[in-house]
Symmetry: C2
């Protein structure tokens, strides 16, 4: 434990692409716990696209105030405690922010104590927004049945890969969409999807049509929005469920494009539905058990892309939007 | 009964605006019923936007073949019958086509015999696609509860007006959207909506925001698509249901625009869902009883815009897309 706490503060709200100029690294003192508080040394931060929204504007959470530490999920270890809730050495998970130390209490700054023996890398990836989004979005909102055709965009990414692996576990035929032959190979070979279509390839439209097949898409788990969403909306089966998990093509940049083929929801008697993992908070403990079990038995291959050190956070975060990361994007402090 | 049967045949598929040049009026003989068949004199045709789709392409039904009679809902009277199903004088409803006489049987050309005493004008309007879309779309897909805020676009139209009246009947606060002060006045004064906002007015965006209020929209019943759908998507309440009934702004013309704010489905944990009245065919008899009862007791004001004669069909149909009709668009033959 050092005596300084390096923190990334929000300096400007990004309207276009995020860059390091929107944040500022400062050095503060390590906090001292008050009555009922614990000090947590943050060990891992989860880099998630939703943070980009929190920086820019009020969404399902208020915008991060200018000058505040950037809000972020992370995990850490309790180093000193004056709270009955936390014991020294506990592994905790929650909104730690982009900083080396944080304070936990039993109120607004509550962090969850994880079961003893939890791997912090499993916790920061599968128990974070990406893993939980795959779990609740695919299993609850999409609710695929064995034998159905499931399409997942961002299939090489942290959420999409897990969603697809869960759909395979359910007995579905799973088609991934990813960018480039390397990612596509990984989606099939490492993550076990039945097929993967490369959206950067000239023949993408035809390849996607062929991969989907004549019966159409029963569940589309969408992480990207934009023209790919439009293409899949043209190929829905009757009663299809389109799970809007994210729209990474729409976050980083001013121009947004809606899916003109939403009109096909009529013909297909289909629904397009959004969700937030925060609405399932009572079921997180069950999700943790399931996800940890599936990571242990190989049902889920938990591929990580780990950057090192607090100073690497903005670069790691920016990679989310350039497609440059390779597995769940995590910073180890 | 004359001995000629005038029919409108599809000549070309419209890709832009529909005009009379896409169809052709021909004169055929009145059909003679074979064994198991009945001949029906068509008395009223229902002008519905969905016919525009049937003319252009395969949708939830195959495209109308070039040279065939234009497919259309209508009602009529049985004039001769060699079928146990139909008696002379029966009022029947179904896919009569744009013609003066049609043949009904017990197979693909089956028409529904309506209860004795049914008003044919109630049947051709409320029992047709517009009335049934309001009934099933609002009550089943939207499923509003008393006290919720329901927004209806195309509120002066045949479907929207009925949807709004059913929402009022459920105890909801109902905001209509319509074009021009006259239509808006009718929506409030005649159809009993709480408010109506004029989308042709310069202050539309602010007026809509104020009419919706700070708590947002619980159910949006959308007939129009386009920029209005986008505006409402920006004001959804948590758990909102967006019922995609139609997208009249998208049918007639080549360029289509998707709703960029569909991304708000995530923040609002909302769903956007399409439906077809054909999926509820087992429940049509109950819908007929409810709708006829509500028309009789004044819950539903069934405003009609009736054109006269088979030759007026294309002009009447084109009015659907120019906003020129004034009530449910019907042609009396």
């Amino acid at each position: 434990m050092t005596d300084t706490n390096r923190q990334w503060l929000l300096r400007d709200r990004p309207t276009g692409a995020f860059s390091e100029e929107h944040v500022e690294l400062v050095t503060a003192d390590v906090p001292t716990p008050g009555d009922g508080e614990a000090v947590v040394e943050v060990t891992h931060l989860s880099m998630d696209p939703t943070i980009r929204g929190w920086m820019q504007m009020d969404t399902y959470l208020p915008a991060i105030p200018i000058g505040d530490v950037v809000r972020s999920l992370g995990v850490g270890r309790v180093v000193t405690s004056r709270s009955d809730r936390y014991a020294e050495g506990d592994l905790v998970s929650g909104l730690t922010g982009w900083q080396e130390y944080t304070v936990a209490d039993d109120g607004d700054r509550r962090l969850e104590v994880l079961p003893a023996g939890t791997d912090p890398l499993v916790a920061v990836s599968l128990f974070g927004p990406t893993g939980l989004a795959a779990y609740f979005g695919l299993l609850r909102v999409g609710a695929p049945e064995a034998g159905e055709t499931v399409v997942v965009s961002g299939a090489a990414g942290a959420t999409g890969s897990v969603a697809g692996m869960l759909a395979r576990h359910r007995g579905c035929r799973v088609v991934g969409i990813a960018g480039g032959p390397e990612k596509c190979a990984r989606v099939v070979d490492e993550f076990g999807f039945d097929e993967c279509v490369d959206y950067k390839d000239d023949g993408f439209r035809h390849a996607l049509r062929d991969a989907i097949g004549p019966d159409g898409v029963d569940v589309y788990f969408d992480n990207v929005g934009g023209p790919i969403l439009d293409l899949v909306l043209a190929r829905l089966a009757i009663g299809a469920r389109v799970v809007i998990c994210g729209a990474i093509s729409q976050y980083d940049g001013a121009e947004r494009r809606g899916p003109a083929n939403y009109v096909n929801l009529i013909r297909s008697r289909a629904r397009m539905e959004g969700f937030l993992v925060f609405d399932y908070v009572d079921e997180w403990p069950q999700a943790y058990r399931d996800l940890a079990g599936w990571a242990a038995d190989g049902t889920i291959v938990n591929r990580l892309d780990v950057s090192e050190g607090i100073q690497s956070v903005p670069t790691a975060f920016a990679k989310l939007f350039s497609g440059g990361n390779d597995g769940k994007n995590v910073v180890a402090l």
